[in-house]
C-alpha cells in the first residue's frame, strides 16, 4: 500500500520559496496567479494493507518526524 504525504508551511507562515516563484511567474507574464505555496511530497510504501491502520501509522510519522507542526501542516493520501 502506498501513502503520499504532502507537507507545506501553514497558512500565515511566510513561504519565501513560494513568494520568489510567484515573482518569477509574474516576470514571465503569468499574471493569473494570486499565490504560490511550495511544499514537499513524501511517498511511503507501507507493509500494512489495512487503510485505517496505515493512516494511523503515517499520521504518527508526520507528528514525530515528517512534519514540524510548529510551522508545517500535512495531508495524507492512501491508496
Amino acid at each position: 500500500m502506498k501513502a503520499v504525504v504532502n507537507v507545506y508551511l501553514k497558512n500565515g507562515v511566510l513561504d519565501p520559496q513560494g513568494k520568489a516563484t510567484h515573482h518569477a511567474l509574474e516576470s514571465m507574464n503569468f499574471d493569473g496567479v494570486t499565490d504560490v505555496r511550495i511544499g514537499k511530497q513524501i511517498i511511503l510504501q507501507l507493509k500494512s494493507e489495512d487503510k485505517e491502520q496505515g493512516l494511523k501509522e503515517v499520521e504518527e510519522m508526520c507528528e514525530v518526524l515528517l512534519a514540524n507542526t510548529v510551522i508545517e501542516d500535512y495531508d495524507i493520501e492512501i491508496d
Binding site: V13, P16, Q17, A20, L66, N68, V70, I71
Partner: protein
C-alpha cells in the same frame, strides 16, 4: 569545567568549538552521536554547527533522534546547561527543548558574514559577562536561520526574558538579516539552562580574524 561537544554525521564546527573552549581553559570531550550517555561530570553540552544528516528533510530534524539526544534531554530536564550553535539551535527547536522553529532565510540565500548582534537579556549564564544592549560582532553562516514563533509564543519569550540576541545595525537598531521574527538571533528556554543561537561565537576569538567578541559570550558559562 568540562564541556561535552556533540558530533553528528555532517557536523563541521566541532573542532572550532573545541578550540574555543580549550582556549578559555576548559576541558572538552568530543561525543559521537551514537553514545547513549554523556561524559561523567559534564558541566556544559554544546551542539555545534554544521549540517547534521545533510540537512535532509529539515535542518536538525533527523539528528534529534540520535541516541545521544535522549541523554541531552534528560540532562537538560535535570537543569544541565546546553548550548546549541547554528545547526545545534535547529536541533534544539526540532526536539522541543527550545520553542519555535528555524525556516529558510527569507531571501533564500546562504548568508555568511560578520554581523552586529545586540544583547537583549543578560540575566542568564550564557550572557552574564555581556552588558544589556551591548553590540557584538559575530559571524553568521546559515541558510535556515529565519526564526519563527507564533504571536502567543513571542509574548511568552518577551515576558520571560527568553530573547537573548537580535540582529542589529551599528546603532543598535533592529535589522532584517534572514526574516526572523523581530530579528531574533538567539533565545533560551524558560528555565534559562538551554540556549540556542544562529551566530557563531566560536568563530570570533581573534581580532586578526575580524572579532574576538565571542570570548565574552562563551566565558559566561564559567562558574
Amino acid at each position: 569545567m568540562k564541556v561535552a561537544v556533540l558530533r553528528f554525521p555532517g557536523t563541521n564546527c566541532e573542532f572550532d568549538t573545541q578550540y574555543a573552549f580549550e582556549k578559555l581553559g576548559y576541558t572538552t570531550v568530543l561525543v559521537w552521536h551514537k553514545e547513549e550517555i554523556l561524559p561523567k561530570d559534564t558541566d556544559l553540552v554544546v551542539i555545534p554547527g554544521g549540517f547534521s544528516y545533510g540537512d535532509y528533510l529539515r535542518s536538525g530534524s533527523i539528528a534529534q533522534f540520535s541516541p545521544v539526544m535522549k541523554a541531552v534531554v534528560n540532562y537538560a530536564n535535570r537543569g544541565g546547561k546546553v548550548l546549541g550553535i547554528c545547526n545545534g539551535f535547529q536541533i534544539l527547536t526540532e526536539i522541543g527543548l527550545l520553542p519555535g522553529a528555524l525556516k529558510r532565510n527569507n531571501n533564500l540565500h546562504f548568508i555568511s558574514k560578520l554581523q552586529k548582534i545586540q544583547i537583549v537579556n543578560n540575566n542568564n549564564f550564557f550572557l552574564s559577562k555581556c552588558h544589556k544592549n551591548e553590540i557584538l560582532n559575530i559571524p553568521i553562516a546559515h541558510a535556515d536561520g529565519n526564526y519563527y514563533i507564533d504571536d502567543q509564543g513571542l509574548k511568552e519569550l518577551e515576558k520571560n526574558d527568553q530573547i537573548l540576541l537580535r540582529y542589529c545595525d551599528e546603532a543598535g537598531g533592529r535589522v532584517v538579516v534572514n526574516g526572523s521574527v523581530t530579528s531574533i538571533a538567539g533565545i533560551c528556554n524558560k528555565e534559562k539552562n538551554v540556549f540556542g543561537l544562529m551566530p557563531h561565537p566560536e568563530r570570533a576569538l581573534e581580532l586578526l580574524l575580524g572579532s574576538n567578541d565571542g570570548i565574552k559570550m562563551l566565558q559566561g558559562f564559567e562558574q
